[in-house]
């Protein structure tokens, strides 16, 4: 088991991977629905249009610039040597996908998967910035992530970069393993969400001068819960496609990956259900949805590498941690994260990556996963925060106060998502 690009795929595996890659976008659709449902009704259209706009800009940016840096198909890269070891830190692919049609089947499928990954990545900070992050700023965030951040991390993990080579260079297991994008999609997305929330600030009225934070529940629990179901279908395909592409798994191993994905989500939801029932007297729908997605995020790291029992364990831990950490971030750390992305994607992604190191028997695997985690935290968060801070100077993230008052739909789009419904005014402006 190694995480390195293969050169050839059999026709069966190619057809299977292609089919799964075509279903995987349902994970993106599910996340967009969850983000929209967890925001306010007066920002719903802006949220969904923003999702589409960010995906559009991200895939175009990735095609023009990012794919070059992420490239791992050629086997080459920008390499420097330190202590006699090669450190492959960036790809050297052709610009503008100029040789995409001539690449071999695995390289083409890998690039398709990376396009989906970048599309999913950019939706994560968008959900956290709900109700105050301007559409133009969101699009700029997507462009920065797709061209300057994601390509490096995806090259390091999926493109034969230095993290993937930790096994061959330093005898650390099979190198850093991340078949489903827990690192380059979810942790990176969650850390980007933290940076966005820090820069944009909380929604007005969220943290009054005295007393606890104001509850601002999502406007449509059905969107959120249906989004969870859609996301499950996408995630099943996503994790199986990832196992085929990045772990060179055989088709016979895919049912276990699918079952582990389902078990992880189910265990996480069950745990969140019990925890919220115990803490609040009744189960909380939005936190349970967060728990479900947290289980799926954990499965992105683990599903193709651990046993079903271990998948249940990782899901249970994710399900317990999620509601507690969401509450802590809001009440203790004054972080206003409407979609819970920092907890769901960053924290649970990190947990999944470390769990792979603990639960897989290969010698040195835990250290490889640990190095990957320290890279994400020590490089990812500071770089993303720096880039977003610079971006905020030129293109302010936060909408004008009037935009928050009348809602992002009216302010940015000129019309609401539910024109026949009465939209409640914001009492914090009294």
């Amino acid at each position: 088991m190694t995480q390195a690009p293969a050169t050839q795929l059999s026709e069966t595996v190619f057809a299977l991977a292609l089919g799964l890659t075509l279903v995987a976008p349902l994970a993106i659709a599910g996340l967009a629905l969850v983000n929209t449902g967890l925001g306010r009704s007066r920002s719903a259209a802006q949220s969904f249009l923003g999702s589409l706009a960010m995906i559009s800009i991200a895939v175009i940016g990735f095609a023009l610039v990012g794919a070059t840096l992420a490239d791992g198909a050629s086997g080459a890269g920008h390499i420097f040597h330190l202590s006699g070891k090669p450190w492959n830190w960036a790809g050297t692919g052709p610009f503008f996908l100029s040789s995409f049609a001539d690449a071999h089947a695995h390289a083409q499928l890998a690039l398709c998967f990376e396009f989906l990954a970048v599309a999913l990545l950019v939706l994560i900070p968008w959900g956290s910035g709900a109700d105050r992050l301007r559409l133009a700023a969101g699009v700029a965030v997507a462009a920065v992530l797709a061209t300057l951040v994601f390509p490096f991390f995806t090259h390091w993990t999926w493109g034969g970069g230095w993290l993937a080579q930790l096994g061959s260079s330093f005898s650390l297991g099979a190198g850093f393993l991340d078949a489903g994008g827990a690192a380059s999609v979810h942790v990176l997305g969650g850390l980007s969400a933290l940076a966005v929330v820090w820069i944009a600030g909380p929604r007005r009225g969220k943290f009054p001068k005295e007393g606890l934070s104001t509850a601002m529940p999502g406007h449509n629990a059905i969107y959120v819960l249906f989004g969870c179901l859609i996301a499950l279908v996408g995630w099943l395909a996503w994790n199986m496609a990832g196992a085929l592409l990045w772990l060179n798994a055989q088709p016979a191993a895919l049912p276990v990956t699918a079952v582990n994905t389902l078990l992880s989500a189910a265990a996480a939801l069950t745990a969140t259900f019990v925890v919220t029932r115990a803490r609040f007297g009744k189960p909380d729908a939005s936190l349970c949805a967060n728990g479900w997605i947290a289980g799926l995020v954990t499965s992105s790291a683990c599903a193709s590498l651990v046993s079903p029992l271990a998948a249940i364990f990782t899901g249970l831990v994710a399900g317990v941690v999620t509601p507690l950490l969401v509450e802590f971030l809001e009440l203790a750390a004054s972080i206003d994260d409407p979609s819970g992305a920092i907890t769901v994607h960053a924290a649970n992604g990190l947990w999944g990556l470390l769990a792979v190191g603990v639960l897989t028997p290969q010698h040195g695997q835990f250290l490889a996963q640990l190095i990957g985690v320290t890279t994400l935290l020590g490089v990812g968060l500071p770089v993303v925060y720096l880039l977003f801070s610079v971006l905020d100077r030129f293109l302010p993230f936060r909408v004008e106060p009037d935009g928050e008052r009348i809602g992002m739909d009216l302010h940015e789009l000129g019309g609401g998502a539910y024109p026949e419904f009465v939209v409640h005014r914001d009492d914090s402006y009294r």
């Binding site: 750390a333 040195g364 250290l367 640990l370 190095i371 320290t374 020590g378 490089v379 500071p382 720096l386």
Partner: protein, 60 residues
């Protein structure tokens, strides 16, 4: 304070890289890399504290 915390975090990353470069012994490597993670965690805590302080100053 937030920037100070964020500046500390890359130091944790460098510690973990130093671990695999300097030590051949797996246990020493793991201990050093865990120290790197601890440094990053401390940096993150400082950054979060800085954020809370700034929010407290700016509350309406």
């Amino acid at each position: 304070m937030k920037y100070a915390g964020l500046l500390v975090m890359p130091a944790g990353f460098l510690l973990s890289i130093a671990a695999i470069l300097l030590f051949p012994d797996p246990e020493l490597r793991s201990a050093f890399a865990l120290c790197g993670l601890a440094v990053e965690a401390m940096g993150l805590v400082v950054a979060v504290k800085g954020h809370m302080q700034a929010r407290g100053d700016r509350r309406p």
